[in-house]
Symmetry: C2
Subunit: 271 residues, 2 copies
Amino acid sequence: MKPVTVFALLLLLMSCDSAVKQDDKNAAALLAEGRWVDLSYAFSDSTPYWPNNPEGFRLDIEANGITEGGFFYSSNSFCAPEHGGTHLDAPVHFAEGKQTAEQVPLESLTGAAVVIDVSAKALKNEDYLISVKDVEDWEKEHGALQDGTIVLFRTGYGQFYTDRKKYFGTDKKGSEGIALLHFPGIGPATAEWLAAKRKIKAVGIDTPSIDYGQSKDFKTHQLLLGKNIPAFENVANLDKLAARGAYVVALPMKIKNGSGGPLRIIAWLKN
Amino acid sequence: MKPVTVFALLLLLMSCDSAVKQDDKNAAALLAEGRWVDLSYAFSDSTPYWPNNPEGFRLDIEANGITEGGFFYSSNSFCAPEHGGTHLDAPVHFAEGKQTAEQVPLESLTGAAVVIDVSAKALKNEDYLISVKDVEDWEKEHGALQDGTIVLFRTGYGQFYTDRKKYFGTDKKGSEGIALLHFPGIGPATAEWLAAKRKIKAVGIDTPSIDYGQSKDFKTHQLLLGKNIPAFENVANLDKLAARGAYVVALPMKIKNGSGGPLRIIAWLKN
């Protein structure tokens, strides 16, 4: 063996040594090399709910000031419909006998996530239905959706979240408002394709619903939830994520027998 | 160089090669080598609240059956005090001007966690105050608490969660019940020591409160929350965690101006 070969081998071993150390890292050390980004809106009396909700989120102040004991104390109670703001649709929401909110396993709520950005088309058409071709085009560029992926759809409508008229297509309430709902969603054919052809954990979207505003039969809900694939709605900040590489933790309030509920969803991104 | 040496070098290089591959892993690949454990109780009408809460958690069924459209639909609304079940104490709960629920940064809610197990002492004394010595003894065995650690205290009282009399020390309600509260907590001297001598992110405990049941001034709350160190109460399943090695993600419902709220807390453990 020539000296130069020995030297090359030694160099390789030195780089190998640092790699071995890297391998020893635990989750905390690895995750410290990135940051968590919040994909959740805060709940308040301006949180938007479906037009047929008579009341939305309400915070009742129980205490907020100095107590008889001389120390400061603040405490509240609150009421809310399950489905509004950044929230979970548990499978039972549209599928009898399927998982309730507290039954959705952490396995379905945590994992590698991708963002399929259809905003160029959806921002031009408030009734846009995300198509199978949209997913196939994404796969051509980034590779096939791997088993266990959380699929987040970005329509670009997140930017309208605080403007009810633009976000829902109407600011009217009640049944009149429901008839006037216009926003993009996942096409039923796409839901069927995802449920049959890919093994995804969950879906998310930056609109009020995974079905588009004009849906009457909520077929996309029926198809995905029917396969115990939960949905995350009103997801925030999807513009901060790349097409691949995020790790999502989506933790709903653990409501026994819930059909869904408030969701805190965050994404880890490498620095 | 002797052949045997060359062979040894080649063997090292082969192991090195797999280590380099390991190094390339992203968060998703690394976290797939472990599992998430739920440290949260579900919310229901049997969720325990402080004795002065007139009502606890309430789920109102809005829809649960076949709709006019012919498909199944389930949807509810709910009401709850912020402080009950597995929940967050935001710093503002006992510290004016400090972080509200939606302001607690993800940085304080995610990270390496340790479990300090004082159950041997606490199960013998329902008024047990976790002492500085308890923490120092833990440090002697496991090393000093590193900056940015989430410190979970295990008193063993989690096993009594569904038995109000054992968990709170009383099943009486109202001010009569408050006077009879008996369960362990973090001693104020320990809170002061942690806030001054260590740089921890957050604390958690498997009792209804970080202050013990007989506390009148909630000094431990004042001291920790006053430093913007949030607290997690009624944490479940702490017996499933080792003293070190867990990574915790604790995501509270994002209530604007909230003093706390429902918390979904999970821990990642390596397989």
